[in-house]
Amino acid sequence: MENNHLDTEIIKTKDVNFYYGAFKALTDITMNFEKRKVTALIGPSGCGKSTLLRLLNRMNDLIAGARVEGEVLFEGMNIYDPEVDPVEVRRRIGMVFQKPNPFPKSIFNNITYGPRLTGTANKSDLEALAEQSLKQAVLWDEVKDILGRSAMTLSGGQQQRLCIARALAMKPDILLMDEPTSALDPISTAKIEELIDELKKSYTIIIVTHNMQQAARISDKTGFFYIGKLIEYNATEKIFTNPDVKQTEDYITGRFG
């Protein structure tokens, strides 16, 4: 184990502004994310929380007309530096999406898609990696006999855990989750939440959620966003019991949003 200070930060944004064309989606976001913690980003629709998440692994690059100002420092390196290859960033910062999006391939090929891109070709290595990732995502027992079957035949909750396993197979440093349970039933949601709790022992997790109770249940720190601004960023317990800012309290208690 490397030294595991509670306040070790792994990625931080510094005065980040983000534009979709002429529209300013984020204003002056400065935020530190801690290693092996779960950080939740909450706020009403359109507040910029998903935009911020997708900024952390340069997924926003894929949107025409998107523009970033400021710095995003991942282990001290600005990932928006022109020298940095976004492909390299995305290999180290994994992402799980709102809608489960397995590839129309077999379960095994879904998991090994990423590792194969990085040149892992040895069959037994890939098999070991698939087993390890599926176990981490608590899906192994359900699929170990049907690894050759299409991932599309799994249920929504299983598909989402497969997507988590697929991201874990890249052995990322950070796992970004964009409302990973919003398309799932309560039982699948509970499974994913348990999984997140387990994963934070070895991964840094940043999760966007619409569901405030979910943020309260699973996260260590919570950031509240409103119209592109970070209103309050504090320990989750503090945010939900005694927030510093009035606006946060109004949102938490359901007065708006």
Partner: protein, 295 residues
């Protein structure tokens, strides 16, 4: 009149209209068989299909269409070899790579290509391609397999490209995002995710493009050279089935053996294009039923 009665009338009008078009097509097929089948009083099915000699006006005539079938197949195969890579790759470029401005220009050019009358392409093949081939390769004639294949390929590219493009557009954006998020490059995403996911649509496009090439008449009539013999090289002339029918029908006496033989050739052509369409249909259905297939 109640609303319900109106609904019934509208329903029936649509039913009758669709029935009419099916009926007309059915009658054409019936006619084709009625005029074609009598040839088998003069020649056996085996001698007709596999006969090596097509001398319908000799006496006694010989009605062997094997050289015509070979002619059709060979120009279809060679045109596909040219048209499939061009059509599929241009579809990939248009749907995934090209910047919006270039995309629009390319799409309209390909649509324009689809709108070119085949006689114009045939004319181009006769006047431009044929003399060039003849001089460059020192051939007795430039009207040959390679010329016909190139012109047919030009005709098949728009079909293949536009149907493939639709299939590529139909690949959900979520797949692409997932691939990029795992650290795939654009090329890796196209080659390993987008194209495989669109494969059933692309196969359909390819087969429909080939069906278009095998049934095309004017181009092969004008540039294939018209020799009813098994070719020995790609610079030989051939006489594909549609060209033979179009060229000879005007001179064949009504309900003579020659006339029936041409209709029977039409039946063979009809069955071949039907087979192409059934295969295309089967492929697209097969992949549709399982949602997305395991690749």
């Amino acid at each position: 009149m109640t609303r319900h009665q109106k609904e019934i009338i509208i329903k029936n009008v649509f039913f009758i209209l669709s029935l009419v078009s099916i009926l007309v097509l059915g009658l054409i097929v019936v006619f084709l068989f009625r005029e074609g089948l009598p040839v088998f009083r003069e020649v056996s099915l085996r001698d007709f299909i596999f006969g090596m000699e097509w001398y319908p006006t000799y006496s006694p005539p010989s009605y062997g269409i094997w050289p015509l079938i070979v002619g059709s197949l060979i120009v279809t195969i060679f045109s596909s070899l040219i048209a499939v890579p061009l059509g599929v790759l241009s579809a990939v470029y248009i749907s995934e790579i090209a910047p919006p401005a270039i995309k629009e220009i390319l799409k309209s050019i390909i649509e324009l290509l689809a709108g070119l009358p085949s006689v114009v392409l045939g004319f181009f093949g006769m006047v431009i391609v044929a003399p060039w081939l003849q001089e460059t390769f020192d051939l007795p004639t430039g009207l040959n397999i390679i010329n016909a294949s190139v012109i047919l390929a030009v005709m098949a590219v728009p079909t293949i490209s536009s149907i493939s493009e639709d299939a590529l557009y139909a690949v959900p954006n979520e797949f692409k995002e997932a691939s990029y998020a795992l650290g795939a490059t654009k090329f890796e995403t196209i080659a390993r995710i987008i194209v495989p996911a669109a494969l059933s649509g692309i196969s359909t496009a390819v087969i429909l493009g080939m069906a278009r090439a095998i049934g095309e008449t004017m181009v092969v009539l004008m540039v294939a050279g018209g020799a009813a013999a098994i070719p020995e090289s790609i610079f030989d002339s051939v006489r594909p089935m549609p060209a033979s029918i179009a060229a000879e029908m005007g001179e064949a006496p009504f309900r003579s053996g020659h006339y029936h033989a041409l209709f029977a050739t039409g039946i063979v052509l009809f069955l071949m294009t039907l087979a192409f369409n059934l295969v295309a249909d089967y492929i697209s259905q097969k992949f549709k039923e399982v949602g997305s297939a395991t690749l």
